[in-house]
Symmetry: C2
Subunit: 358 residues, 2 copies
Amino acid sequence: MANPLTPDVLVDPVVLTRTLVDIESVSRDEKVIADCVEDVLRQSPHLHTERYGNTVMARTGLGRGQRVILAGHLDTVPINGNFPSTVVDDLIYGCGTSDMKSGVALALHLAATLPEPGYDVTYLFYEAEEIESQFNGLHLVAQEHPEWLRADFAVLLEPTYGVVEAGCQGTLAARIRTHGRRAHTARAWRGVNAIHAAGEVLRRLADYRPRTVTIDGCTYREGLNAVRIVGGVAGNVVPDECEVEVNLRFAPDRTEKQALDHVHEVFADFDIEVTDSAPGALPGLGAAPAREFLTAVGAEPAAKLGWTDVSRFAALGIPALNYGPGDPALAHAPDEHVEIGKIRDGAATLHRWLTAYE
Amino acid sequence: MANPLTPDVLVDPVVLTRTLVDIESVSRDEKVIADCVEDVLRQSPHLHTERYGNTVMARTGLGRGQRVILAGHLDTVPINGNFPSTVVDDLIYGCGTSDMKSGVALALHLAATLPEPGYDVTYLFYEAEEIESQFNGLHLVAQEHPEWLRADFAVLLEPTYGVVEAGCQGTLAARIRTHGRRAHTARAWRGVNAIHAAGEVLRRLADYRPRTVTIDGCTYREGLNAVRIVGGVAGNVVPDECEVEVNLRFAPDRTEKQALDHVHEVFADFDIEVTDSAPGALPGLGAAPAREFLTAVGAEPAAKLGWTDVSRFAALGIPALNYGPGDPALAHAPDEHVEIGKIRDGAATLHRWLTAYE
């Protein structure tokens, strides 16, 4: 197959977005798109390019005082009647338009067309962000090629609708179990109903008042929710076990350990098993490239409430934020689309930032 | 196969119990045992025998003033490491020993050995009591051969450990649903959590104070229990639906309609779907053969709390009660067993009753 990512395409981030969307790349099936991207980068003499699996890294080596990362994932959620792309007025529709091939297009456009940025830049196009963490390209690179990720600041081109979303909240999943004693429902007084006992867990959840925390001007809203409940043995049996799965989203001023202690405090006296936990990331807006980035964008940052790969950079000590042209509310939706104006604005903003110090 | 139900076996209800237990007859696999039972009955010249599916009916035609039914089901729950039977001291162990081949043995022993009882007797050996109602032999006979069930009184030989259990409680199953609005848990305030809303359903269940009702000297204890709860979409989604399945066991002074009204009253303002309902049966101890039966047993009746096929007789206008040598607490258990003494007592009691007016 001839590479559709031709020089004519690469100079226009809008055309490039459509072209990337039209290369199918559902998670675990990113080989074709990674081949095309790698080919483009290797043809750019100002970049040093490497590949690991279906993750491609390319970086300048200009000897600048600071290095920044522009990162985006190549994969999409499964296609849902929204492939290939279509254009209606100033909207591009299709799987991955918002999440996040419009963001990838900005990075690839700059990689191919800006040979001498003001910072040294590492471009990272990675695989398998939409599925289990073990396959995540950024996770794998952090383990196998940590030197690729050395930088002073990172921009993750996840959909933010053109605003800067800084830091991210942590997340903790736990199972709260209640216990009882089985009995036939015709002789229910001989048993103890574990589902009835779970009523107290639900009462605490309903009464819970989540914190709102402001850090570096970013306001984080926490939340504690039951996401699953299951209990029962048979239609004529008083059940002896019930399980409520809860999800705590916590502001980045709490560590994972503090979040865990909080869950134990809320559900004191219950049987608690933590099944998943990921730290948040502080906004980290103090770094010089971050301040300069905010100047280029010309707007105040907002808090990122969902968990994103920004947290992986934070864990490596690299301040990172989310900034992309896509609309997060449309991610994974069958009618996913992106505004052409947001792509052009994003390209102009990143170009302004990367050339301000050239 | 030679019929193991030989004359030597039929004269001894204890040996007969073991022999019946050793003919495997899990629900839907009752052909062999029904063939053996039918063969015995057809060889008895004082009985008129018919068969429908794997249900066998045999009746005397002595022109007595009253007719009674002795009924038992031939099937068992699945074998659970407890086949064939074993004897330890005065206990017979094995699948179906209590529920209810020891009861079937009493009826078959009397059918084969008592040619001129004081009442006309209809013996009914039926299939598929342990599974869905649509396969139940008594249910099928009531539809296809209702004339087989004409009688003034019925004894169902279900396990009662030698006491008389009269009437039965009704049962009603319903699903109580709560509704909400989905949202990402990172932005939980945009949603409404349906699992949290189910907390109020569980509170009403935990606070519920069931009635105790005495009818004809029999005390019925009602109960209202959650038997299943399920809700949840995904680990990061505020769920928009939760369902609690409840089971009401109601005393036979309430009709099905009154029980339903009661559930609507308890869960007022909730979305309720009734999924199953079966009426109770009043004790019906006023009928002459019932009074004479109680005299023969020489003990006060107790309330039957579980739902049994007694209710099917009640629906046909036939007073019925449960009386059998098995232990209801051992029904369906891997260590199911029956006391040999209870079998001998039961045989003597039924013989006394059926010959008192000979």
